[in-house]
Symmetry: C2
Subunit: 199 residues, 2 copies
DNA sequence: CGTACACTTGAGTAGGATCAATTGAAGTGG
DNA sequence: CCACTTCAATTGATCCTACTCAAGTGTACG
């Protein structure tokens, strides 16, 4: 979809669907950085710095609202409220990256998996991202590349969550059965209820 | 220094010194998120969202420029250029987090260590952060908590880098002997030269 | 001189990686 | 309708990276 190093990228707002940002190393190792849901911005780095250092892909059909990157300066000049909201959204994304970093750096495999699934589920609670509202349209390869684990070990870890009746893997996607138990297992407390600006 | 959940936090600009942002889990596991050097912002999340979800600590004496968080709205209204620069800095910090996430998720221990040290060294190249300009004032415990490794394994990994004559650990800090070799070892290419606004 | 902190090293273990198959569902083309 | 391919999920076996436990060294400081 959108690839790293793209100079002519625009700024987008996600209106519908699910996608993700990722980075690749030259030898093919992939790390998924975060997931993109309605309300998120895509391409802010590219708009500000002229080049995106990550790539973006869709997991389900996405509806985006396009914004010309050249207009960003104009927006900052004429619509300070919107400019503030953009910074707010960027800052919240950084907050999510922080938690993600804690997860990959310090949580065990099963904690990581539980955290990731609970987190996406919580974020997707109010918006529909997949074909059914209960299902998250991701493959185990995506989970592996998000958690920094191998595909095989990710599979075995997800099986453990399934055996505990916390999730079910069905129709090429993940259904959450018990989000509270997932959060507890991940030792994760909040998804703080913040007033979110609509851009 | 500044702790998580702080509501009355201000926004700061680092003028001098070295610090870091980190998160703790309830059982004490610590993950260092990134390092703060001159030109970086501290507390943007707190200013925008009312609460910081991470803590901050100094590694060397730091000189900060304080900014009242209540004035942020005013700044966005009256100084769109500065508002733009703040977003730029926030976005660059996110970019650094992205690379960090790739590192922890997909690089091996020695690659991670090489990347981290090369990265901090490269960022600190133009500004003095420790007592001598060559030395990075961090302990191996900090490195461990940044890389998501145990202290013991971090020590053994750093020894390997020292045996290869890439670094020297001296006077409770790290000196870089061959940054190019570190970058090559980490399979890390760029620290792109971006025009950086001064805030 | 005793304590504290950072760094170091060795031994044994475990969590996760790699390798190698297998299953099953969903196309696709004849 | 049936071979053929492809992709995702699954499982077992083996290996190795990184963890834990347990000391020990060196230096700074009161």
């Amino acid at each position: 979809m959108l690839v790293e190093g793209n100079h002519s990228a625009h700024l987008y707002t996600v209106l519908f669907g699910l996608g993700f940002r990722y980075k690749l190393m030259v030898d093919g190792r992939r790390q998924i950085l975060n997931y993109l849901l309605p309300g998120d911005l895509i391409g802010l780095q590219g708009s500000l710095m002229g080049e995106m250092q990550h790539s973006v892909e869709a997991l389900s059909p996405m509806l985006l609202c396009v914004f010309e990157r050249e207009q960003l300066h104009t927006l900052y000049r004429n619509h300070p409220g919107l400019a503030y909201d953009i910074t707010w959204i960027a800052s919240r994304e950084e907050q999510m990256l922080d938690e993600n970093l804690l997860s990959i750096g310090r949580r065990t495999a099963i904690e990581r998996a539980a955290y990731l699934i609970a987190f996406i589920r919580a974020r997707a609670a109010k918006v529909q991202v997949g074909r059914s509202s209960a299902q998250l349209p991701i493959t185990q390869q995506h989970v592996a590349d998000t958690l920094g684990l191998s595909l095989v070990h990710t599979n075995k870890t997800l099986r453990k969550l399934a055996e505990k009746k916390l999730i079910v893997w069905r129709d090429g996607g993940c259904e959450v059965l018990d989000i509270d138990a997932l959060m507890k297992l991940a030792r994760w407390e909040r998804l703080q209820e913040t007033l979110r600006p609509l851009v």
